[in-house]
């Protein structure tokens, strides 16, 4: 055991930094927990797929290839913009934070829009919700993921006014850091979804 700790001596760190560490830990635990949710969804997909003699099941339309790839790049660009916004926020460059957040918001909306295009085109080509495990996986999993993108957009909508008002600044930017973590998580989940559902 650490001797100093056993004697009750705490190493010095400013209270604000400690509070931020605590918030970061909570967010990390939450994302870990939510990763289990997506892991079990992927597990479900794996089981359903292995139960089928052929994949995709016979009589189902071909999944599009280009659109999901474009969407992967959109979310990657979104993560990149947010990361730059975070760096700018730490440096106190307000204009660049705002531009980063706006870019991320536009990209997020673009992602959801393209997902809607993807779903409607699949639906038009004859893949109804009731059409077996492929439809269940494609609509269910990507739909659930898109809900998370919407939550992330809500977060950006909350952050932008804070940046403009100056309550989110060089000294206090932990909220942005946590939302960036969340967006990275959503991006990684999408990458896994893209690879497992549309590529493999």
């Amino acid at each position: 055991m650490n001797v100093a700790a056993a004697r009750g001596v705490i190493p010095y760190r400013p209270a604000a930094a400690r509070g931020e560490d605590t918030a970061w830990l909570g967010m990390a635990i939450f994302l870990g927990s939510w990763a289990m949710m997506f892991a079990s969804l992927f597990f479900a997909y794996g089981v359903l797929r292995l139960r089928q003699p052929v994949w995709p099941p016979q009589g189902t339309p071909q999944l599009p290839e280009l659109l999901p790839l474009v969407n992967t790049l959109v979310l990657a660009a979104n993560s990149f913009a947010l990361q730059r916004a975070l760096v700018a926020a730490r440096g106190g460059e307000k204009a660049r934070v705002v531009s980063g957040l706006v870019q991320a918001t536009v990209l997020g909306i673009l992602f959801v829009g393209l997902q809607v295009v993807l779903w409607t085109s699949l639906f038009r080509s004859g893949l109804a919700f009731e059409d077996g495990s492929l439809a269940a996986v494609v609509y269910g999993l990507t739909g659930f993921h898109a809900l998370h993108v919407l939550v992330g957009l809500l977060g950006l909508a909350l952050l932008l006014p804070a940046v403009l008002r100056g309550t989110l600044n060089a000294a206090r930017n932990n909220r942005l850091r946590l939302w960036v973590m969340y967006w990275h998580f959503v991006g990684v989940v999408w990458l896994a979804m893209y690879l497992l559902i549309f590529v493999v």
């Binding site: 927990s33 939510w34 495990s133």
Partner: protein
């Protein structure tokens, strides 16, 4: 620690958890309160209310097993008017479904984890509140919303959920149970899962970040260890249940086919067994989610009321941690009968039986804690002792079911029902009552009546043993579970007297609980005022007034010893009492250099 270091410490720790002025409005004081103690009480009330509902449902099930086809007295004329008070097959399905789900997710979980977790964690580790008080309040109200969905399920067309508490498809899909009651219940499970995850995040972060200086992991009361490990299981495995509920909801609402196979599915349908995998990947950790807090509370209480340090404290901690890890890899024993590969069945059998090794370590530690102790048979101690007894029975019967071969015979019988009621219902329930009787003075600032508590104890412990013992017996004789009228089968007719007696005991058990209801509510208004430390125990919550102020600790304590420093002869000589506070510095002791018996040489 030098004086300078101490001052420095104080500054750091106080800056992290500043004292806020207490709330004044009704709304901020009782409804959207950020105070963990108020949230704990909210959880306690919500849980006890649903415990009563779940218990009432159980009484109606027991009536059906004693007198199938006869109108239910008292409750029948109110709730079953359309059938003349008789429990019909569909209503019967709803009764046992709602009983199971309510008891597990909406009664025991909020009491054992919501109430005790919230109340104990900050107080026992010396913190002023949870790490995220706002999230904590949100978690309760999300939970309350899920309870609302449960109530809504009762009002659904075609009645409440009726697919069994395990909610297996295809019965639980829109084909098997088309009513809105089932849909609302699946939504309630998802929602309560979200609340559990929020709570879990809060508990883990609080334990990691907000322990008082000197409160090392190996000085935490075992209650906190139980809650901590439970929270870890919650954040890891409740999402898996969430995913199962989510996919089932999609099947029911949007018509997807995750779990629908066979004739109903044309283009490569889903897989009903998939649900069982998802359900039990969560479901087996869940039984430990419900028992770990109980283990923690009981391990502490046995030490406190035997006036001895808990035997091999570290062993208990490591055993509880080992169980936590192993609980993740045994879920297949719930699915032996699903056509699982026999080799896989062997593997799950082995892993399941291995889990009894750390459980045995725990159990022996409890027995050695009370061995040669100076036992005080207070009400909490009585409940703790009976929890040890019923958990022993539950654990032993678990061996039959965990091994593949006997499980083939016992599968789907009342033996399974008896087993999981002994562990999840009886043990968790008795530990919850032990905890309520123990922390009641701290929670409400008044004492419960101990005589009524003892009468309640005899009703509860004897009643529970007889009721679930009866289930074990009829199950071993082969009676299947979930039968609407078991005695329609010639082979089960001789079991009717035994079933009837079990039901009589159940009615007595339920009636006995009314004593508790009276005691709980009456004591809140009229009970004797509680002193700060009525049980003479050294953990931190007893060093502050009952009930504690909103900020808990005027100054955040500096902990110098473990939680069970009882009957230490050296200290008894110095202090003239057999207990010493965890943060109490005794003259002549170098703080921090204190070695407790439980810790050994660190």
């Amino acid at each position: 620690m030098t004086a300078q270091e101490a001052a420095f410490n104080r500054q750091t720790i106080e800056a992290l958890q500043p004292i806020h002025s207490p709330p004044t409005t009704f709304w901020s004081k009782y409804m959207w309160s950020l105070d963990h103690k108020v949230i704990a009480k909210q959880y306690l009330w919500a849980g006890l209310l649903f415990l009563l509902i779940g218990g009432t449902l159980a009484m109606m099930i027991r009536w059906q097993w004693a007198f199938p086809g006869r109108p239910v007295p008292l409750l029948g004329p109110i709730f079953l008017r359309s059938s003349g008070g008789v429990v019909g097959p569909a209503v019967y399905m709803q009764l046992f479904t709602m009983h199971g789900l309510i008891m597990i997710f909406f009664a025991i979980t909020p009491i054992l984890i919501g109430a005790f977790g919230n109340f104990c964690i900050p107080l026992l580790i010396g913190a002023r509140d949870m790490a995220f008080p706002w999230l904590n309040a949100l978690s309760f109200w999300v939970f309350a919303f899920s309870q609302l969905l449960v109530i809504g399920s009762f009002l659904g067309d075609l009645g409440a959920a009726g697919a069994g508490w395990t909610t297996y498809p295809p019965l639980s899909t829109a084909i098997g149970t088309p009513g809105t009651g089932q849909t609302l219940m699946v939504a309630a499970i998802f929602t309560t899962g979200v609340a559990s995850i929020m709570g879990g995040i809060n508990y883990i972060t609080t334990v990691i970040r907000l322990r008082a200086p000197g409160m090392t992991y190996m000085r935490m009361p075992l209650t906190v260890w139980g809650q901590f490990l439970t929270a870890i299981l919650n954040v890891l495995f409740v999402p898996v249940l969430g995913s199962a509920a989510l996919l089932l909801l999609m099947d029911r609402v949007f018509g997807t086919q995750f779990f629908i196979a066979g004739a109903a599915a044309v283009k490569g349908g889903g897989d009903p067994i998939l649900f069982q995998h998802l359900f039990w990947i969560f479901g087996h950790p869940e039984v430990y989610i419900l028992i770990l807090p109980a283990w923690g509370i009981v391990a502490d209480l046995l030490a406190f009321f035997s006036r001895k340090p808990a035997n091999w404290y570290k062993g208990t901690v490591h055993a509880m941690s080992a169980v936590t890890i192993l609980s993740a890899v045994v879920y297949g024993h719930h699915m032996f009968q699903t056509g699982m590969n026999p080799l896989l069945g062997e593997g799950f059998t082995t892993l399941t039986l291995i889990i009894s090794v750390p459980a045995e370590v725990l159990f022996l530690n409890w027995l050695r804690t009370i061995y040669k102790g100076s036992i005080r048979l207070t009400v909490p101690m009585l409940f703790a002792l009976s929890m040890v007894f019923v958990f022993g029975l539950g654990g032993l019967t678990g061996l039959y079911l965990g091994a593949n071969a006997p499980d083939i015979y016992l599968h789907d019988t009342m033996f399974v029902v008896g087993h999981f009621h002994f562990t999840m219902a009886a043990a968790s329930f008795l530990a919850s009552l032990a905890g309520i009787y123990y922390w009641y003075p701290k929670m409400f600032g008044r004492n419960m009546n101990q005589t009524l508590g003892k009468i309640h104890f005899w009703f509860s412990s004897v009643g529970i043993t007889l009721v679930f013992g009866g289930q074990l017996l009829v199950g071993y004789a082969g009676q299947n579970r979930r039968l609407w009228n078991p005695f329609a089968y010639e082979v089960f007719k001789p079991l009717q007297p035994l079933n009837r007696w079990t039901s009589y005991f159940a009615f007595v058990l339920f009636t006995g609980q009314l004593i508790f209801v009276w005691n709980f509510i009456y004591s809140m208004a009229r009970g004797r005022k509680a002193e700060a430390n009525p049980w003479s125990v050294g953990t931190l919550e007893w060093s502050i007034p009952s009930p504690p102020p909103v900020h808990n600790f005027d100054a955040i304590p500096v902990v110098v010893r473990g939680p069970h420093e009882l009957s230490n002869p050296e200290l008894e000589k110095k202090l003239g009492r057999d207990w010493v506070g965890q943060a109490e510095v005794v003259a002549g002791e170098e703080p921090g250099a204190v070695r407790t018996a439980a810790q050994g040489a660190t």
